[in-house]
């Protein structure tokens, strides 16, 4: 065979592409017949045809393309035209990416790899994007200059897809992590944040993040009206927000529907929703540019409906079940928040009612914690004590208690709190206005929650000062009455004993019944007069001058005429009065019968004068009362022998016996009787109310 047969024999490999290269009339192309091709080109084509990988040989200035059977899968669209075509034309769609690489290989002669280049490839009768990694290697001509390149392609679609899937999964994971973190953050804020409004804003953030929504809202159920009140929203047109301010059972909105059914409502496309179609709600959705919504009812842990949380999207959207798993955690937290807010509001209302009432009552009112530390006082307390709330709080209340009551009150409060038993006691609280302590009846009662646990104490103090004082006075008066009664009984007994004794002794000394009668009556009357003098006064004492004057005038003595009574104001105690009155009585009776007041002595005079001598130098010595009874102008003075007995005893013996240290001197003088009483004025005997008269005045009597 000649040359053509030889040319027909090359390349010798089998397969479609080898055949196509063999039969092609290369002589009609710029390359010329294969026999004229450089050996390096023919060797490269042989290698490509023998390779199992998609391989291409690009040669010459125009980069004329050859490829093997494996490349068909990649090149279906440009096959068979791609054989002998320039690479730039065959790969026009991707040349923008490939061109620079080719340029570099041709220039540098070094291999270059183009990774994961997307190619629209045919797959089972349809086209799909496939990914390939191309390796470009320089081919040299027989002279050693770079004249073309060998390109091998490995499909990396699977790896690229796997990487994409991984990235997506990572993104999703990161998103979930972010959601979880947000939920956790929210939980922390739920505990620490006290302002519900700020918390609602954080909820909106979390809801939008978790559901990847464009808008969100929180509604609270008003149990009485059974409607939903919009308490927070994001992404609404203000007019829509105004429209949904209150949503009732009749509403055509998703939340209205959820309120009716008590189930989550998902509207993936608002425009296609039968219950929204043609309603004012639809307009509200449109005004805010919303096309999808879901509403989830909030229920308390005990099953009571509390409100609604909703998320909205600008495009039709069917939220994934996965999103709800996190959203439902939010719903749980939102429900707890609303419940807590409701409870706090109720507490605040009850607190306000309590304070209003506590400020109305006239009592002092306060509240204690479980350590009997007060945290609140009503206005009356602050006004009465003058304390500020800060001063009174804690145990500040002790400061205004009477010092004598503090320790006991503090202890009793603590005991009551410890035992959980109501307290009632009385103590004194200082009034700021005049800094006086007034008595209060203090009561404290434990306040219990629904479970019966004591949560705090409420105390009241009622001003019982007047009652307490009155009661104390009454008790004191009763006590005094008892004392007085006992005293009275004692005196009555005493008087009876005296009367009895006087009767017996008068009887023993009387010679006739008339005699007895006269003496007894006289003595009894004298005793009665003494008693009268004593009882007349508040304190049990009698004036010496009155005592003497009464006795003398009783028996016809005329003061300033037949009798003179003169001395400082001396007060005598009962025992001295009783003793002295008997002595003066006996003297008087004697004067009437035998002395200055008797008919036998028409010019008779009696002068009674006394003085008080100051105490001596020693402590035991009391001042002395010196009383002198002097009768004058009495003829035939002689003591009646029969009368000498008892009358004289009562004068001379009784006084020294009854009044320790007293002395009596009885003289029967020619002009009349003179009797001197010398009595130590001890405190149980009596005292002088004015200064003693001078010794001259005393001794210068009527003698």
């Amino acid at each position: 065979m000649d040359a053509p047969s030889i040319s027909r024999a090359w390349p010798q490999a089998r397969g479609e592409m080898a055949e196509r290269i063999r039969v092609r009339n290369w002589a009609a192309t710029p390359l010329g017949p294969p026999e004229t091709w450089p050996q390096s080109l023919r060797t490269a084509i042989d290698i490509a045809l023998a390779s199992g990988f998609a391989s291409y040989v690009w040669w010459g200035r125009d980069l004329i393309q050859f490829y093997n059977d494996a490349a068909l899968a990649v090149l279906r669209a440009t096959h068979p035209a791609g054989l002998g075509e320039s690479a730039q034309a065959a790969w026009s769609e991707v040349w923008e990416a490939v061109g620079p690489l080719v340029e570099r290989v041709l220039r540098t002669g070094k291999p270059v790899i183009g990774e994961d280049i997307p190619i629209i490839a045919e797959r089972g009768g349809s086209t799909a994007t496939a990914y390939f990694t191309f390796c470009y290697r320089a081919l040299r001509d027989d002279a050693g200059a770079v004249a073309g390149m060998l390109v091998t392609a490995i499909e990396t679609t699977g790896a690229v897809r796997a990487r994409e899937a991984l990235r997506e999964s990572e993104e999703r994971f990161a998103q979930q992590l972010n959601d979880a973190r947000q939920l956790q953050l929210l939980s922390a804020e739920l505990i620490s944040e006290q302002d519900p409004t700020a918390l609602y804003e954080r909820f909106l953030d979390a809801m939008i993040a978790v559901m990847r929504s464009d808008a969100a809202s929180i509604q609270r159920l008003n149990p009485d009206a059974n409607d939903l009140e919009l308490i927070a929203w994001r992404g609404f047109d203000p007019a829509s927000a105004e429209f949904w301010k209150l949503v009732d059972l009749d509403s055509a909105s998703s939340c209205g529907e959820a309120l009716r059914t008590r189930k989550r409502i998902i509207v993936a496309d608002i425009d296609a929703c039968p219950f929204i179609s043609g309603t004012a709600d639809l307009e509200a959705y449109h005004r805010s540019g919303l096309r999808a919504v879901q509403s989830t009812p909030l229920v308390s842990r005990s099953g009571r409906p509390l409100g609604m949380i909703s998320t909205h999207w600008h495009e039709p959207h069917q939220p994934a079940a996965d999103d709800f798993s996190r959203f439902d955690i939010l719903a749980r937290q939102a429900a707890d928040l609303i419940e807590r807010a409701q409870a706090e509001e109720k507490l605040r209302e009850s607190e306000e009612r309590f304070r209003t009432v506590a400020n109305l009552v006239p009592d002092l009112v306060w509240r204690n914690d479980l350590r009997s530390h007060a945290d609140w006082y009503n206005r009356r307390w602050l006004e009465y004590t003058g304390q500020t709330m800060e001063e009174a709080s804690g145990e500040g209340w002790l400061d205004v208690l009477h010092p004598d009551d503090r320790a006991a009150s503090r202890m009793r409060f603590r005991q009551a709190v410890e035992n959980g038993e109501p307290l009632a006691q009385e103590h004194r609280i200082r009034r700021a206005a005049d800094r006086t302590y007034r008595w209060f009846l203090v009561r404290a009662e434990p306040v219990r929650d629904e479970k019966g646990t004591v949560v705090q104490w409420v105390g009241t103090a009622t001003d019982i000062h007047e009652q307490r004082i009155a009661l104390d006075a009454l008790r004191e008066s009763e006590r005094r009455q008892r004392v007085l009664l006992a005293e009275l009984q004692h005196r009555v007994n005493n008087v009876l004993a005296m009367v009895r004794v006087i009767a017996f002794q008068t009887l023993a000394n009387a010679e006739t019944l008339d005699d007895f009668h006269e003496s007894f009556e006289g003595r009894l009357n004298a005793l009665a007069r003494a008693q009268h003098l004593l009882v007349d006064r508040d304190i049990e004492e009698a004036s010496l001058s009155e005592l003497i004057e009464h006795e003398l005038t009783e028996y016809g003595g005329r003061l300033g005429e037949t009798v003179t009574v003169d001395g400082p104001d001396v007060r005598l105690r009962p025992r001295a009065v009783q003793t002295l009155v008997m002595a003066v009585h006996e003297l008087t009776v004697n004067a009437v019968k035998y002395g200055a007041l008797s008919p036998d002595a028409p010019d008779g005079r009696i002068a009674v004068a006394w003085a008080v001598e100051p105490a001596g130098t020693t402590i035991e010595e009391a001042p002395r009362l010196l009383v002198r009874w002097t009768e004058s102008s009495v003829p035939n003075v002689a003591p009646h022998p029969r009368r000498r007995g008892q009358g004289r005893d009562l004068i001379e013996e009784a006084l020294p016996h009854e009044l320790r240290g007293a002395e009596v001197q009885l003289e029967f003088r020619e002009v009349g009787v003179r009797c001197t009483f010398d009595i130590p004025l001890r405190s149980d005997v009596g005292y002088a109310r004015s200064m003693a008269i001078s010794q001259d005045d005393y001794s210068g009597g009527a003698e």
């Binding site: 004692h490 017996f504 002794q505 003793t579 016996h657």
Partner: protein
């Protein structure tokens, strides 16, 4: 009723000539007790108004004069807060029996003296006689013949 021997004046022979100390701060009551004792055939000593007076009498009647004391009638409260108990203590020490005279709702007797024989004021002569008889009989079981 126990019949007891009496002397010509109708006095119980057990009481005749008995020397009885009287301590009573109220003069009239003292005089009354004195009168009763005399009518019972006794020989009253005193009356003393206070403890000092009573101690003086003890000294004079017994220690000084060599006389004797058979019994005493003692008012408890002697005025000015003084009581008769120190004297009673002395009498007990000397073996002289005594009656504590109480009455008029006077304050209670201290526990130490609750067991002492008492007579309630006001008393009649026969009450005093009965109380003294018991007192003297207990102190000296056998009648004193020499006193008759």
């Amino acid at each position: 009723m126990i019949f007891r021997p009496t002397d010509a004046a109708g006095h119980d022979t057990m009481l005749t000539g008995r020397r009885i100390l009287v301590v009573e701060d109220r003069y009239l009551l003292a005089k009354e007790t004195d009168r009763m004792l005399r009518r019972l055939g006794c020989e009253p000593v005193g009356p003393a108004a206070d403890a000092a007076g009573a101690f003086a009498l003890l000294e004079r009647e017994i220690d000084g004069g060599g006389g004797r004391l058979d019994a005493a009638v003692l008012d408890i409260h002697l005025g000015d807060g003084e009581t008769v108990f120190p004297l009673a203590e002395e009498l007990r020490r000397r073996g002289v029996p005594f009656l504590l005279a109480t009455g008029y709702g006077s304050p209670g007797i201290p526990d130490a003296w609750r067991a002492a024989p008492r007579i309630e004021k006001p008393f009649a002569a026969r009450d005093l006689a009965a109380a003294l008889l018991v007192l003297i009989a207990a102190a000296a079981p056998f009648p004193r013949r020499d006193a008759r």
